[in-house]
Amino acid sequence: MVKYVGKRLIYMFLTMFLIATATFFLMQTLPGSPIASYNKLNESQRAIVEKKYGIDKPKPVQYAIYMKNLAQGDLGTSFVFKGKSVNDLLASRFKPSFILGAQAMVFGTIIGILLGIIAALRQNTFWDYGSTFFAILGISIPSFVFASLLQYWVASEWHLLPVGLWNDGWKSSILPSIALAMGPLALSARFIRTEMIEVLSSDYITLAKAKGANGFEIAFKHALRNALIPLVTVLGPVAAGLVTGSLVVEQIFAIPGIGEQFVSSIMSNDHATIMGTTLFFSAFLIVVIFIVDILYGIIDPRIRLSGGKN
């Protein structure tokens, strides 16, 4: 197990290195310059600014400096928020995004799993069709539509919750979390329904019935864990979906989160912030995938993480 984790960590660093390199050079191909907005500068002033941010040097040198700083955890300095480091920017905006993402993930998967179970146990009844309908809505309607609808009805029309911003404590997080949760909810509902139906028709479920287990024990003690195993594998993509969802949802609700900042840094061509945020999102996803693999081994006893004795 220790050996396995060690090996995985090395691969994770390697992946990060490749992503950082790719992002760095892709950034160079973006049209416009990070200091294009400083258009009132004359030649010599521009040279001073370029020197300050180190973009006067040849690209390979810039790359080497960036990677060296990155190795020390330094993501550089924002071009737009003068004098602020990207690290500080991300840190100040981490909390709302984290809260939204975590709430959406937990709420979405739990409700989704429950809906999926109900649909599987009550196959081809009103409950099944209802939850299928709900899930298809969740999969096919993009999160910004949910976000706008929730904002319009629940917030503006009925005044139940804040329209946006992050100044009303937990209440501010409810609507954006729900909007974000629709994707994971729909996906896990569909997934669990299919898996449960499959598992419920297997021999060991018949044996459980033959032991005298009742419907509840069969669904929750015997079937659910087996149906969850494949769901774990899609948690990675689900997390990726949350990241993209957050870009839009944070914008709509004006949440001062990382997603909102990412969008505005792209608007303002703030190279250092774009890169920093991209790397941050990548690191997040790599960690999620790692956790998912560990979870997989815990939930499925047949998978003992190889690379050494457990």
Binding site: D203, Y204, T206, L207, A210, K211, G212, P301
Partner: protein
Amino acid sequence: MEKILQVKDLELSFHTFAGEVKAIRGVSFDLKKGETLAIVGESGSGKSVTTKSIMRLLPESSSEFKNGQILFDNKDLTKLPERDMQKIRGKEISMIFQDPMTSLNPTMPIGKQVMEPILKHQKVSKAKAKEVTIELLKMVGIPNAEVRYKMYPHQFSGGQRQRIVIAIALACNPKVLIADEPTTALDVTIQAQILELMKDIQKKVDTSIIFITHDLGVVANVADRVAVMYGGRIVEVGTVDEIFYNPQHPYTWGLLSSMPSLDLEEERLYAIPGTPPDLLNPPVGDAFALRSEYALKIDLEQAPPMFQVSDTHYAATWLLHPNAPKVEPPASIIERMKTFPGSRYYETKGGNV
């Protein structure tokens, strides 16, 4: 002997998209205390459906009891509410399935799976249940049970898994144990071990066993009585000796002739010609008539009743009707009958008796 289970005129259908599949078309048999009743018959004859209907393990949504009763403990199991059925399953009647590779829950330690019926049906503490579990695992021959009860199914071999399934079935000392081809999926040496185990256990715990199998060799080894099923009916039932050495139904003749034997050096195995009956549109008369060279005209018009051959031996074939023509069974069957006192071919020194 005391009858523990009585199945009377059972008829059961499946509702499918193609129509009503009449899988069981009037099955009656008794199971006596402590005996082993083998059910044999070709694939699709309704062996599994019959036994699953006793435990009510068939899908409620698509299966329907059309007629008959299953009497157990003064209760008719066809009419028992699901809740009461749950108290019988695993406690009074339990079941061993064909494929040990798929009949254990892959994500649950085997000890927990054995313990489950104990905790469910008996008022005992967890510690006590664990003790019983380890004892059971030892009894079925799992070495090092104290350590291994925490392991998962994939850490055991097929034979060991079947032993675990047997331990589960025996956990509450059931009155009836149903074994649906418990050795079919195992290789020959393991098969023999599992059969020995089942015989040992039956001596120890005195349960009645219904043993489903394709393998007549196994029947001779384990059973007291045999029921031969064909097309959703029992066509012949009797003691092992009666079925093996004095068979009356042409289908039983076919089955016995298709049994490989070591002592008779036959060049090739006999195969019953034709295909099993279509249970969507079952034939009117004797379902075997179309495949049988012994069919009479009446076989195509009316299903034969059970004719009594002896106190314990019954067969559903018009050949046993007093007015039926006397036919000669296949030569290999006559050979068998010659050794059975009471059969019409029984040979003493002087001739037929």
